[in-house]
Subunit: 407 residues, 2 copies
């Protein structure tokens, strides 16, 4: 079942024009007009492919192709059409449109699968407009209450539910858990591993757990001149030493462990004043729950050690977490078989970024497929992909989807 690379690329390019930025990316924040336009285009194409479109209360879109045993839980594949501000053209769209191309190919060849197939476009995977991320799949999996999602407001006060209704995508179908026969999601890697190793396909066997902390260190505001070094309580010195210590934690734990300080703000922030308060974030991720616990202990140890050394008060706040999600070995094996049928090089890996597959995995066996992206970049207009890689991913998705739909 050879996919049609020209048709696939044309669809990708047409979708990339929706909310296109001058810099070659897309601006398709959730529930904006651009999001609506992307949804409308997907709905049009789903109709062209004779798919039955259902939209649920969260705006998740399911385009269904009947199976021989139409009551069997569906083989599902998809991703999301929303983007971060000035994001890339491939993050999300690739997984939705590759699933569409897979179904178009089945139509071309008049293949009927045992299970029905559903292509899904999840609402608000990204989350920057209406945090948190992955809220469409989260409500679908029963992990996030529908009402909580509805009441979320963006930075200008607009309510999720009002915006969902405004763009006409508050559907009738209940957004509640239902069994999935299998779930597959093709995505660009968003990291440099495949591209650096020259491997064509990543077989994603799970999603890292994640812990987000916010650390506040408080010292004393003093004039930078007349305050001798030994009398200082410099919150930035404490924070800097802690950040340097956090950088050393991953290598104590595992080669794939990652830890990042991405946010930092300080007060008062004047060239000649000793900072009295610094707040910074900590993000750490891995596949092993025990190592995640150990990392948390090491971070807390570093914070308290450096606070004591500089005589600071500290507060550590939990601001988010998810447990590691191991995908299904059977679905991963279908992906591996598909790679081998087509002769693509492949490797097993875990995703360190969150994806809707994490929630879908609560409802049935799931796995993901990664393809390389240029320099490992995403979430920016720089994001790019070699079309050959994208087509290989689409081919693997189509083959694995058929295997799962026939299983």
């Amino acid at each position: 079942m050879p996919i049609n690379p020209v048709r696939f690329r044309q669809s990708m390019e047409e979708m990339a024009r929706v909310g296109a930025t001058k810099g070659g990316g897309v601006n398709r924040l959730t529930l904006t007009d651009a999001d609506k336009e992307a949804r409308d285009l997907f709905a049009l194409w789903a109709g062209d492919a004779d798919l039955d479109l259902r939209i649920d209360e969260m705006g998740n879109m399911f385009a269904r192709r009947s199976g021989r045993e139409d009551d069997a839980p569906p083989a599902m594949a998809g991703s999301h059409l929303d983007s971060v501000p000035n994001g890339g053209r491939f993050d999300g769209s690739l997984g939705v449109l590759a699933a569409l191309e897979a179904v178009r190919t089945l139509n071309d060849e008049s293949i009927v699968t045992r299970r029905p197939i559903e292509i899904v476009n999840w609402t608000n995977e990204e989350g920057p407009r209406f945090p948190p991320s992955m809220v469409g799949s989260g409500v679908f999996a029963g992990a996030i209450p529908l009402e909580a999602a509805y009441e979320t407001r963006d930075s200008e006060g607009a309510r999720f539910l009002d915006e969902l209704e405004r763009i006409g995508y508050r559907g009738d179908a209940p957004c509640t858990p239902r069994p999935i026969g299998s779930y597959l999601e093709l995505h660009i890697e968003q990291g440099p591993v495949l591209v650096n190793e020259g491997v064509q396909v990543g077989i994603v066997e799970g999603i890292f757990g994640l812990t987000w902390l916010r650390v506040t260190m408080k010292g004393e505001r003093d004039h930078a001149g007349p305050t001798p070094m030994h009398l200082r309580r410099d919150a930035l010195v404490g924070a800097a030493r802690t950040i340097a210590a956090i950088r050393e934690i991953p290598e104590k734990l595992h080669p794939e462990f990652v830890a990042t300080v991405g946010e930092l703000s300080l007060s008062p922030g004047a060239i000649n004043v000793i900072p009295d308060e610094v707040t910074f974030s900590v993000d750490f991720r891995h596949s092993e729950p025990e190592l995640m616990n150990e990392a948390r202990n090491l971070v807390e140890e570093a914070v308290h050690r450096e606070a004591e050394r500089e005589n600071l008060e500290v507060e550590i706040q939990d601001v988010g977490s998810s447990t590691p999600t191991a995908f299904d070995a059977g679905v991963a094996q279908a992906v591996r078989s598909a790679c081998e049928e087509s002769g693509y090089s492949h490797r097993s890996m875990w995703s360190a970024a969150g994806h809707d597959a994490r929630y879908a995995a609560d409802l049935g066996p799931a796995a993901m497929i990664f393809v390389p992206c240029v320099a490992g970049k995403s979430h920016s207009e720089e994001e790019d992909m070699d079309w050959e890689d994208g087509c290989r991913g689409c081919d693997v998705l189509a083959r694995a989807l058929v295997k799962m739909a026939d299983s």
Copy 2:
């Protein structure tokens, strides 16, 4: 010549009502209505004390008391009446009103000194509204061009010259260098040394040199999840290690060396994104030019070492500097004699904060007098002073001023 502590305190309290804040501080930014009101009050009191008031082109106010040899360069004493936003009641005012009290005391006792005495209120010592600081004395000393000072604009676009004219303090006297017989400035210490050591008076023998740098480190923006630690170019990790290293520099050089990182900003500043650019300030100060040079080398070494370690690009910008200013041993000795006459404990010290005395020292022999301030705090409403300490400072200033006026 005993000063009148009640009169001195009344004047200080009346001045503290000008621009008073609810928190017990003052808001007297340069060339605002509150600054004008403080100036008017000083002018009124100068008239009451039979002083001859001259205002120069920069708005510097000189209240002159004739001497027996009226053409001799004056014995000058003073400070400033402007404040930082929500600053303290003593920073600046103390030095101006103590000099006024000294002259009132001379009047009480009908003492005529050899040299004339001039009490000075320097314009814009603080600088937050119209940077840089100490601009009135800087123009007076010939170190800053008058036109440059005039053209400075505040953050709302108001021009220094326009504001100076608006409040009616653009005077006729040229603001150009002229010889000073001596210069004395009483000030709260703005640091914790005297209060911690229980010493009553600081004899200030010089002002630390200062170097201000702005360091920018550039790495690569990447997703905090999928980017393995060994492939990162994390600008915040580089900056944090550098800041931690800068903290260790002073103790390698001298117990009184100080170094501070007070500003830091980063980009993009998201919890799940590796920062690609961090900019931070470095402020270091000491009395020894060789140690200042050595510190600069050590800072640059640390920046380049940590940049290389994290594979970052760096830029180091000079944003300000002043060389150490040693005061005059004779004037310092007059202060010491005054302390001993009155039986006050005293110690020699250098000022790590800038003062107008730095520029005045270019025109004649100068020194400063410090008195303790509570907890070493200044530049905030918390700033406080024990009145006993303030009166001791006023007494020492009066005695030393008469010595210098008769020298």
